[in-house]
């Protein structure tokens, strides 16, 4: 296939996609109107299960199986990263040197660390009530720990971050989601069905049946996955060196990207 022919094939494909997109756009309901057939049904179902946050009801009740797929994608991606970014045979491990941090940066990051951590846990716990949930809160909580890298240095972060524990937590979060799904089966209905727990009182922490439990499982999985993911990237950026590196390289160890 020469270049000219390839361009024609590309043009044909692009024109077809563009035509389909334009045709589909004309069939869409008008922007900003009150006609939401799917939204109305989703809200009705969410209220029937006492879940105040309809988005959480869609993610963890009506479409809980889709969320299992998403969670598994993250799990597999992190697993792949762990395998790819391990220390290879021709690389060596160097101790990171302590770094100087400007006093205002240190103070700001240390004050913000507990606040961010609590905010992350709050977002996980209130997923069934207010915007947010396991995924968002998990990322926030994991990011909070890394404020220690900004405030002090990499060695301080390593001290409060037992990586093996976080790897186990990642797998446990994933497993907890599967087990809650199986519990639905054992209770006599279908996989991940929201029938095993009472739905509780509307707009309270314990409402929504399995939604808060699934949120907690996702929160644990995502927080641990992000910590493990960032740990692999940080190890590569700070601690692992190729064979060609000489001693002079170590001077730059404490500086940041």
């Amino acid at each position: 296939m020469n270049r000219r022919l390839r361009m024609w094939v590309l043009l044909l494909g692009l024109a077809g996609t563009a035509a389909l997109l334009v045709a589909a756009a004309f069939r869409l309901p008008a922007f900003g109107t009150g006609f939401h057939p799917y939204g109305d049904r989703a809200v009705h179902e969410a209220l029937a299960r006492q879940t105040a946050n309809t988005v959480a009801a869609v993610n963890f009740d009506q479409r809980a199986f889709d969320t299992l797929g998403e969670e598994t994608i993250l799990f597999a991606a992190v697993l792949g990263t762990v395998v790819l970014l391990r220390q290879a045979r021709d690389e060596r491990h160097v101790e990171p040197a302590p770094a100087d941090v400007a006093a205002p940066v240190r103070r700001y990051a240390l004050v913000l660390l507990p606040v961010t951590l609590v905010a992350g846990l709050y977002i996980v716990a209130h997923g069934q009530l207010t915007p947010g949930g396991g995924f968002q809160g998990g990322v926030v909580a994991a990011t909070a720990l890394h404020l220690l890298y900004i405030a002090v240095d990499y060695r301080a972060l390593e001290r409060i971050r037992p990586l093996g524990l976080f790897e186990v937590g990642d797998a446990a979060g994933e497993a907890a989601y599967l087990v809650i799904g199986v519990a639905g089966l054992l209770a006599g209905s279908s996989y991940l069905a929201n029938t095993i727990l009472p739905h509780g009182t509307f707009n309270t922490l314990s409402s929504g049946g399995t939604v808060p439990l699934l949120n907690a499982a996702i929160g644990m999985e995502v927080a641990c996955a992000v910590v493990v993911l960032l740990a692999r990237f940080l190890d590569q950026a700070v601690e692992i060196e190729g064979e060609g590196a000489n001693e002079g390289e170590n001077e730059g160890e404490g500086e940041r990207t």
Binding site: G32, N53, V55, A56, I123, P131, G132, G133, F135, Q136, V139, V140, T143, H146, V226, L229, L230, F233, L234, Q236, A237, E241, G242, G244, A245, N246, G248, E249, G252, T257
Partner: protein, 94 residues
């Protein structure tokens, strides 16, 4: 009023997205990407999708730029190592 807000947010997203492509240095690109994440968060909030906005804020403007910065740091260090190793080899040869 709401339409004006949506239009402004869309324009901000378009401007920062173009800037993210136009900036050539990867380290700066990561920072522009972080700003793009913020403008997308604004857009999702204006469109009344706070759940998506929270995800975008956490992943798009904090996590992704951090991963890019760490990768850039690693790549730069590796190329420095190679230059140094080549220099040493040359000096050893003469």
């Amino acid at each position: 009023m709401a339409d004006v807000l949506i239009a402004v947010a869309l324009l901000l997203v378009a401007a920062t997205a173009t800037a993210a492509v136009a900036v050539r240095d990867p380290a700066r690109q990561a920072l522009v990407l972080s700003v793009l994440g913020l403008t997308l968060t604004l857009l999702f909030t204006v469109l009344q999708a706070p759940d998506v906005a929270l995800s975008q804020l956490a992943v798009g403007s904090a996590l992704t730029p951090l991963l890019i910065l760490l990768s850039v740091r690693k790549a730069r260090r590796r190329s420095l190592d190679q230059v140094r190793a080549e220099k040493e080899a040359e000096e050893g040869g003469t």
